[in-house]
Symmetry: C2
Subunit: 361 residues, 2 copies
């Protein structure tokens, strides 16, 4: 085996090494079954234990009560952009959307494709989506208010969630779910692709409140109805078993090795602070997100001399630091430091950045 690299990929991203080692160790014989987890029937008690434990751990970590159901879907957040309005926005109703860039913008577009009504309640497009809008006048009659809790591309994150009164909040939390604690009560639905903070790609977590399930129209295609997944414990058809299994192990790691979500958040804040503190004291690098809205998951920055960017990224790679190129739509640099990225990895990055600054500054 080669040396493990420091992985700053935006997703699929680093996974906890002990989890990977556990998967590898039991890959040919899952819990003494004589089969790989990839060969186990989803209709077996063996797999029931996996999927139920995964859901239970998510609920415990998020402190979600009996009125929430944890579902495992496929298709990523991109399919949720359509499923949310198909299921929860009746014709004639309006939904509020806050546009914080790319993913919010795509979510709004899918409402329009369905011929339904999305109102852009606020947008940060005027400053290239480098901040989170504040003091938003939400529509108190909206079917729901939709936000993207963390913008992976711009490196912005809602520091606290807006008060929408009795209007249920819905959030795409793909890039920060289970990275920090928050009060789930105002949320009617949360969705997230697993491949950043929770596991590999191929499974989409949906956490839905009972009153939202009651909105689901009867005439939707079976696989596009939340009720299909809620009624059949996410197994109307074959679920993505391996991805659910890895997610279960990551949840177990957060609970039992990290010691819970508060500890996870503390570690994430420590990693982010290390990077942001360095950016702030440097004249060589510039953070791109508004300071008060900085993400603890995706740290976006530019080199003052942008002509050095290619050299920086290539040099980082040569030093075992992968995934620092910004999203192809915006350029620049980005370090994604999700749950599984270690303090050691961030320290190695800061140390490389300092050395690069000394050499080229």
């Amino acid at each position: 085996m080669g040396e493990r690299i420091y992985n700053f990929n935006a997703g699929p991203a680093a996974l906890p090494l002990p989890v990977l080692e556990e998967i590898q160790a039991e890959f040919l014989d899952f819990k003494g079954s004589g089969m790989s987890i990839t060969e186990v029937s989803h209709r077996s008690s063996t797999f029931d234990e996996v999927i139920n434990d995964a859901a239970d751990r998510v609920k415990r970590l998020l402190n979600a009560g009996e009125d929430y159901k944890v579902l495992f879907l496929q298709g990523g957040a991109s399919l949720q952009f359509s499923m949310v309005p198909m299921n929860l926005l009746a014709d004639g109703q309006v939904a509020d959307y806050v546009d914080t860039g790319t993913w919010s913008t795509k979510a709004i577009k899918e409402v329009e494709i369905l011929g339904k009504q999305a109102r852009v309640a606020a947008s940060s497009e005027d400053q290239d989506f480098n901040y989170i809008p504040k003091n938003i006048a939400f529509n108190r009659d909206a079917a729901y208010a939709h936000i993207t809790s963390n913008n992976t591309i711009r490196g912005t994150q809602w520091q606290s969630f807006p008060d929408t009164g009795h209007v249920p909040l819905i959030s795409d939390m793909s890039s920060d779910i289970l990275g920090r604690t928050f009060d789930i009560a105002p949320f009617g639905l949360i969705y997230a692709g697993a491949q950043k903070n929770m596991g590999p790609s191929g499974v989409t977590l949906v956490i839905i409140r009972q009153d939202m399930l009651e909105r689901v129209p009867g005439d939707l295609p079976t696989m596009l109805k939340y009720t299909t997944f809620a009624d059949k414990n996410s197994m109307f058809n074959t679920p993505p078993c391996f991805a659910v299994y890895v997610l279960q192990l990551v949840m177990k790691w957060i609970e039992e090795s990290v010691g819970g979500l508060a500890n996870m958040e503390q570690l994430n804040r420590q990693k982010a602070a290390l990077l942001y503190d360095y950016l702030d004291k440097s004249d060589f690098y510039n953070g791109t997100a508004a300071k008060e809205d900085r993400s603890i998951m995706n740290v976006t920055f530019l080199l003052k001399d942008s002509s050095l960017e290619g050299t920086f990224i290539a040099g980082a790679l040569a030093n075992g630091l992968v995934g620092l190129k910004g999203h192809r739509s915006v350029g620049g640099c980005r370090a994604s430091i999700y749950n599984a990225s270690t303090l050691e990895a961030v320290e190695a990055l800061v140390s490389f950045m300092a050395e690069f600054e000394r050499k080229h500054g």
Copy 2:
């Protein structure tokens, strides 16, 4: 590691042991990247090679020309039941469906949910779906003709495909794709969940002909349009990377270890013959599918004395033979003997069946 069991699961099902061993060996360090395949970015050249090689191998194995595209989706065949008519059946048009049980029945239901027109061109419901309808009068003006090439539950399989003239054939091939050779030319679209003959659950293979792509309406949700996947090499959003990777390795195994699809078919026919020959000479067990329509993938049978069924299945399990219980909707027994199940496994099953017959017959 415990002993490997003989796995007759209907899906997720047995995978080739050399493939599982390769995955395990490189699980912490994929091709010297210093990362697990589950941590590799889907936007990297590393993953490009995986997904492109997987698609190329599928095309080579099926002898599919330039006018076919291989796509990797999510949601299983169950989502395809809706996507096929959403994309390929315009309002006012009619599609022909042959109902050979459960999965065909569900596919027809999803057309109706969409308010579109499915005509049942033929059905074998009159004999509890134990045969494949013959001499079907297809509608020469149909948008397409849909069949289920193999019925996993009833153990029936189309031995040859019907002539529908210029009407494109569409088939759910979830349980027999890449288990035998066939001429792809009449097919406009083929779909299949991977978890029987190709890999783990979590990825759905779609093979689509260029003229079908031209039918896709512009106003569908982005993630429900075949064109989205065709235009973006199945990476409009993050694909189920691990499942695609395993599928690639299984394709490589068929090409390079088994020696191609003709060899794969020969092995499958040999396994099936072993079981059916035994059933036919026994008075203790009865095959349930019509002889001329028997599946080489799923062998369904009953014990003449049905009160012994529980003892049989428990005894098999005690002897290291798992997954022999028939589908919960029909009962009885079923041995699924997909590509990765070995001749040795089938021999062990026949030998157990003979011993059980001696003891209880």
